[in-house]
């Protein structure tokens, strides 16, 4: 006999013991540790409180259409991952490799188009004048020393999509947890200041559980609503972000880069934009950039900069002739420990990037996220074994205490003030990172009061473009319903990208060929502009410029009004959310987005 047919409205609540939101590295670590623990003899007597006679019922709801979609590629020291998986063999996971060679490259500006400060222009001149002595090749200087805090030399290169796929199989084969893809979670259920579960976006079903594990990433709907309801701890704020955008590339036959190569880059395509290149097994590489919120351009963007980045002579000599295999983008919460929310409360616990675990000094987030998941799982197993409830007090005594005693806490305190300098400028930023990193966080650049925000157009382009040029570009962008950054970059001397149809392709082709972006039909728009008037008053629509998928675009009907949103192009990176200067964007939970499993 089949189960009952489709649920009536309103649907009856579902009961579980533990419900998780999002299947990223944190929840993957949580579920792997939990399901392994539940199989130990001492846990045999633990029964579900939701369904009598069964083991604890553990469910996880993932927004994306597959557990391997919508996540990123990384280089990581993988300390926590290896502690969980001591026999981990990277050859068992596609695109995984041990780091073999690591370089920190200063990229000179080969075009003269970047907005370099004077000291950096001078540095370029010195590098060129002394290229033979310094070893400058192909417009790049390999720095002779990599600060120890940046080293990933004993770690792995991963495709997080492939890694998640691998872990997800282990978790589900245990039979002790269900991971539901294409199931976005709309909101937490908050009752009497206690989280009693979640509400699913698909049909409004409530899933009631004794413990809600919130690991839905930096822009997840549940985490943000918890922050709004319970507030952030005193002095904590989420005001530093970045968009990470990358391509996975089939390398040309001529490429001599070896598997396990890791390059970190600074200096190009803009001084504020850091880049990377990782070489995976099978002649595949990941190349990408980070566009930070402290880059004060009012028209900051990612895709065009990424195209210029891969064409830098130092990279292009290896990548030319390659083929775009995959493409994607995500937001990164870069507030670190300052962005840490209340880690636990009655009925809920926060793990992963949404819990402020990313180390902003070492630029490492995946391993830290994994660790938070494993620490919570150990705590949950302890509480289940003792039959104790998931109260704030119990979770603080177990999970939060474990976290405070871990290397994650120690290192995140070192990193806590490491990026203060970037609020003042690029040079103070680098100096501040060095100071914090080399003194174990004892000395740090002072933090500037207030957040560094995008400048006005005329101020940002002062000395490079006249007001009249800017106004003409604005008028043309409105008339042609296109983003403004392209026109302004052209005016600043950035050459047009010559598409080759393979690796250099239009943004729309990147969505089709690389991101394979999808959107199911039955959901409403998940990006909403709250006040049309605020959009009309906005000088430059930064949401249009930064949108990773060109899903937010100038409205053809009302060019000066609220932008148009095309959900079929949205990659769910959430960049619009934190780039809107007046917080006028509602970013709701929805399925779809990237369909690439290699990012």
């Amino acid at each position: 006999m089949n189960p009952e047919a489709a649920p009536p409205a309103p649907p009856a609540p579902l009961d579980a013991d533990i419900v998780c939101t999002g299947f990223g590295p944190a929840v993957a670590g949580f579920l792997l540790t939990l399901t392994r623990g539940l199989q130990q003899p001492e846990m045999a007597a633990v029964e579900s409180r939701a369904i009598a006679g069964l083991p604890p019922q553990v469910v996880c709801y993932e927004r994306a259409d597959d557990i391997s979609f919508g996540v990123s590629g990384v280089v990581t020291r993988a300390r926590a991952i290896r502690a969980s998986l001591p026999d981990l063999d990277p050859s068992a996971i596609p695109l995984a490799a041990r780091v073999r060679e690591e370089k920190l490259l200063y990229l000179l500006d080969p075009l003269g188009a970047t907005r370099r400060p004077a000291w950096m222009r001078l540095a370029d001149q010195v590098c060129r004048a002394l290229s033979g002595v310094l070893g400058v090749e192909h417009e790049a200087l390999a720095l002779p020393w990599i600060p120890p805090f940046l080293h990933k030399g004993d770690g792995f290169i991963f495709s997080l999509g492939q890694f998640n796929q691998w872990v997800g199989q282990q978790v589900m084969m245990s039979g002790l947890a269900q991971v539901w893809p294409a199931a976005p979670v709309a909101a937490p259920l908050i009752e009497d200041e206690r989280v009693a579960g979640v509400r699913l976006a698909a049909d409004g079903s409530e899933v009631r559980a004794a413990l809600t594990v919130v690991g839905d990433g930096p822009v997840g709907a549940v985490g943000r609503q918890l922050d709004e309801h319970f507030g952030m701890p005193a002095g904590h704020r989420r005001d530093e972000w970045a968009v990470g955008m990358k391509m996975v590339i089939d390398l040309p036959e001529s490429c001599a880069l070896e598997e396990g190569t890791v390059w970190h880059t600074i200096g190009y395509p803009e001084p504020e934009i850091f880049g990377f290149l990782y070489v995976h097994p099978g002649r595949i590489a990941s190349a990408g950039i980070f566009v930070p919120s402290w880059m004060d351009s009012p028209v900051r963007t990612s895709y065009r900069y990424l195209q210029h980045f891969i064409q830098h002579p130092c990279l292009w000599r290896h990548l030319e002739g390659g083929r775009l295999r995959s493409w994607g983008a995500k937001s990164l919460l870069e507030s670190g420990r300052r962005g840490e929310p209340c880690l636990a409360g009655d009925g809920y616990a926060r793990i992963g990037e949404c819990s402020g675990s990313t180390n902003v000094l070492t630029g490492s987030g995946v391993d830290e996220a994994w660790l938070t998941g494993t620490l919570l799982a150990e705590s949950v197993l302890e509480l289940l074994r003792k039959g104790e409830p998931f109260t704030r007090q119990n979770l603080e005594r177990t999970y939060v205490a474990r976290r405070r005693a871990s290397w994650l806490e120690h290192e995140s305190r070192v990193a806590e003030k490491a990026r203060n300098g970037f609020q003042w400028g690029l040079l103070p930023g680098f100096l501040g990172m060095a100071l914090a990193g080399l003194t174990g966080g004892r000395i740090a650049w002072p933090r500037r009061s207030g957040e560094r925000r995008p400048k006005r157009l005329a101020d940002y382009y002062a000395g490079r473009l006249s007001r009249a040029e800017i106004e003409r570009a604005k008028a043309r962008a409105e008339a042609e319903a296109r983003p403004l950054h392209d026109l302004l970059m052209d005016l600043c001397g950035w050459p047009p990208v010559q598409y080759d149809g393979q690796l250099l392709v239009s943004h729309q082709d990147a969505l089709l060929m690389g991101g394979k972006v999808q959107a199911p039909a039955e959901f409403p728009d998940h990006v909403i502009f709250r006040s049309p008037q605020l959009c009309r008053d906005c000088e430059a629509h930064l949401c249009v410029e930064i949108c990773s998928g060109e899903a937010i675009r100038v409205s053809q009907e009302y060019p000066a009004g609220p932008p148009a949103f095309d959900r079929e192009k949205c990659v769910h990176c959430g960049a619009c959310l934190w780039n809107c200067p007046v917080s006028n964007i509602e970013f709701c939970a929805a399925p779809g987005g990237l369909h690439s499993a290699e990012n």
Partner: protein
Amino acid sequence: MPFQIIVCGGLAPDPLQTLEPVFDPARPSLRNELMLPAVFDPWAAHALYEAGHLAKQHPGSTVRVVSLAPKAKLQQVMMTVAQKLPFELTALDGPGGGFVDAAATAAALAGAIAALPDLDYSRLLLFGGWESATRGAGVVMQRVAERLGIREQFLAVDELSVEADGSLLIKERIEGGLHQISRCASPPAMLAWATGSLPEPPNHPQTGMANMRVIMPALQKAAAANIEPAAEYASTALPSAIRHTRIVKDVPAAEIAREIAGWIRE
């Protein structure tokens, strides 16, 4: 009349992924096949949606999916498919993909169906895709039907309706872009579906949770299917050209359309 609907369906790699054949004369495969996101075979999915629709119209009907696929992968795919409509599962743990012999696949599926304890030929409708997205051999469903002794077989079905007297009106695609409508007096019958006419049902998490209570035990009981390589392959390759991009500027849409039409005519 309540029907007993059995849907045969395997898995296919998510068609949006990068596929790379790895050659082995006995059993070619795709690189990293087990790590590739998979979907329920799209043709079989049409059959499943039609089965769900039919079962809803005829109370008391049951839907059972019989699937031959790697167990771990099948479990993952079921987490999505199970949210669509209520069904039960019989799982066979074995190789999937386009390099598995059609006759061996049919034998395994027919064996599993024949072994079902409650099989009732007087109510049985055997559904599946008219071909698989991984190979397109287009013979598995006929072979399953033959093995089960089901003589009423319909291929490339687009529509099924049940008449007041219980007979089945079945619209099939036939050569020349035509449709043929047949009347089948009663089950048992095999219908190998083309696209049908139903959209993909939206996800219902509640349905998924309810389904999983029967699907998880079925997956844990999945018997290993003994599928021996029956053919030797000479080579494998992807289509040589799948995308041509030419960037043009300031060309009117009509001219672009003319060029595309000319290219298609060639």
